[in-house]
């Protein structure tokens, strides 16, 4: 709704006479003004960063200059270490997240669809999802050691319980009339589940996959806290020990870029796979 409205503007808009005109609640502002503010904000941030670093106001130890970070990044690309760290992290995240999806989506759909399953699963899920993942690491080490499996388990636990609840919510909000109308069209219970309820959850499930992938990235450093020897989280921790601040920033930027890439990828997939979805 708001998207539609924001595109509709009076054809002839007067130039703003005061800043107050740009601060009316929910009212659109002219596109050039929007882009101008966007650009000004970005430039101000970069400018402040440049002045602080090149001007010698902040020690490179705390905040390296943009060029120092680019240099460090280029060096790490050249020697292959950045790719190694990135691929190690991506494989841990994707594996942990994929396991959570494979188990969590069916459980979530069953939980949202059948009250009996909800009663069965809810106590566990609601309890565990409030436990911080970091607090479970000692137990995980005790149970499965300190290898890659432990890191995957951290990502799994971090995303699984949230994912189940989100998917359950999606399934529970499939319009009841849609199921009822299917019965009146002659569908059996199994057909209603497989041919109506399941496809009806797809856009919501797709959104949930995208959101939980974002959360998986936020657990990365926690996962690589213990006895890692590669990965972006490890890169950041290890660079801190050697006071290589520029490398810390390279790690952060890489995480941000990869996260953004995954997000855009999911949005693209949503449009490609579910062209009928109202969200596509």
């Amino acid at each position: 709704m708001s998207l539609v409205r924001s595109r509709l503007r009076p054809a002839r808009s007067r130039p703003a006479r005061s800043l107050g005109e740009y601060l009316r609640p929910q009212e659109p502002i002219p596109r050039p003004a929007y882009l101008g503010i966007l650009l000004a904000s970005t430039l101000a941030l970069l400018g402040a960063w440049g002045v602080a670093t090149y001007g010698g106001l902040v020690q490179p130890l705390f905040l390296p200059s943009p060029s120092a970070i680019v240099r460090a990044g280029a060096e790490m690309v050249r020697d292959g270490s950045l790719l190694q760290h990135a691929s190690a992290s991506v494989s841990v995240i994707v594996t942990g997240w994929a396991l959570a999806v494979v188990v969590g989506v069916p459980v979530g759909i069953l939980m949202g669809t059948f009250k009996a399953v909800e009663a069965l699963v809810e106590p566990v899920v609601d309890f565990v999802r409030y436990l911080p993942v970091s607090a479970l690491i000692p137990l995980l080490i005790l149970y499965i050691g300190i290898g890659t499996a432990e890191k995957i388990a951290v990502i799994f636990i971090g995303t699984f319980f949230q994912l189940v609840l989100l998917v359950a919510d999606v399934a529970a909000h499939v319009p009841r009339e849609q199921l009822e109308v299917s019965y009146t069209l002659g569908a059996s219970r199994a057909q209603v589940l497989g041919r109506v309820l399941l496809p009806a959850t797809l856009p919501g499930v797709m959104d949930t996959l995208r959101i939980t992938m974002g959360w998986a990235w936020t657990y990365l450093v926690v996962a690589e806290l213990v006895s890692a020897d590669r990965g972006l989280g490890y890169l950041i921790l290890n660079s801190m020990r050697g006071l290589f601040t520029d490398r810390i920033f390279v790690g952060l930027v890489t995480i941000g870029v990869l996260g953004l890439g995954f997000d855009l990828g999911f949005k693209w997939l949503h449009r490609r796979l579910l062209p009928w979805s109202p969200k596509a």
Partner: protein, 283 residues
């Protein structure tokens, strides 16, 4: 085709008139509220619908009109009483009773064609037949050329036309309509009412139509049942002696005005009674 949700046996009860299509006999529906209290939605309600008839049901808000329709659809079980269709007792939902809801219930992942042929397809009928049936009803509701469109590309009125085509594609014995035009604007609504009458002329279906729009009920119906406030009962049954095929002109006739005055009077009375009851007693 053998209808689902109908058990065979006993003879047509009641009136003995061969033309009775649907017979609702002494039906009571009691729900258990959130705090365990019992709420009676329908109270010993009876009505008959004849073959090829359009019967409208009106009543004050919350009188159980929708519950009555869902009961006939087999989506709700009666606490007491029975429902008979073509001499067979209704025990659950089935393809012989198509339903159109007020909310948009099209399947968004299917095209217009996919939606309309959903019923025949799910019953395992051959591809060629499904496509032919879909084509026929899409044309009948005036949506030829939109076969490949997804619901999100359609207007509200178009979506409801698809929903009607989808229900008709099963060739049901009875068409149940639960305020199907309630969410549409006035002009679209008027257009849809005439379209429905046109479809009725062509398909010779029996229609049970629930609405809170009295003009709509009278314009469409051969008979109108007026319900009481909750617990819902039939307060009055009115027959409309208006010619068929009808056009909007019938709404300006004396017969129309007289019946409308009568129905309005009852509904105002019932609505006032409902307000009084809810203001006085605990909810």
């Amino acid at each position: 085709m053998v209808a689902q949700g109908l058990s065979p046996s006993p003879p047509v009860p009641g009136s003995g008139v061969a033309a009775v299509k649907l017979s609702v006999r002494g039906v009571t529906v009691t729900f258990r509220g959130r705090r365990g209290q019992e709420v009676t939605a329908l109270d010993r309600l009876s009505l008959d619908v004849a073959e090829r008839e359009i019967v409208s049901i009106v009543g004050p808000s919350g009188c159980g009109k929708s519950t009555l329709l869902r009961l006939v659809a087999g989506l709700v079980r009666p606490t007491e009483g029975e429902i008979w269709l073509d001499g067979r007792r209704v025990t659950g939902p089935g393809a012989d009773r198509g339903m159109v809801f007020q909310s948009y219930t099209l399947f968004p992942w299917l095209t217009v064609e996919g939606n309309v042929e959903f019923g025949p397809r799910i019953r395992g009928l051959p591809d060629a037949y499904c496509r032919e049936v879909a084509q026929r009803y899409i044309q009948m509701v005036g949506l030829a050329g939109f076969e490949r469109a997804y619901p999100k590309e359609l207007s509200g009125g178009m979506m409801q036309r698809v929903a009607i085509a989808r229900a008709l594609a099963n060739d049901p014995e009875l068409l149940l309509m639960d305020e199907p035009f309630g969410a549409l604007d006035a002009q679209t609504r008027a257009f849809m009412q005439e379209l429905l009458l046109d479809l009725w002329q062509k398909t010779a279906k029996t229609i049970l139509f629930v609405t809170h729009d009295i003009d709509e009920a009278l314009f469409l119906g051969d008979r109108v049942y007026v319900m009481t406030a909750r617990p819902g009962r039939i307060r009055e049954e009115l027959r409309l002696r208006l010619p068929r095929p009808r056009t909007w002109e019938v709404t300006t006739s004396e017969e129309f005005a007289a019946v409308k005055r009568r129905v309005l009077g009852i509904i105002r009375e019932e609505a006032a009674r409902a307000m009084g009851a809810s203001a006085g007693g605990p909810r």
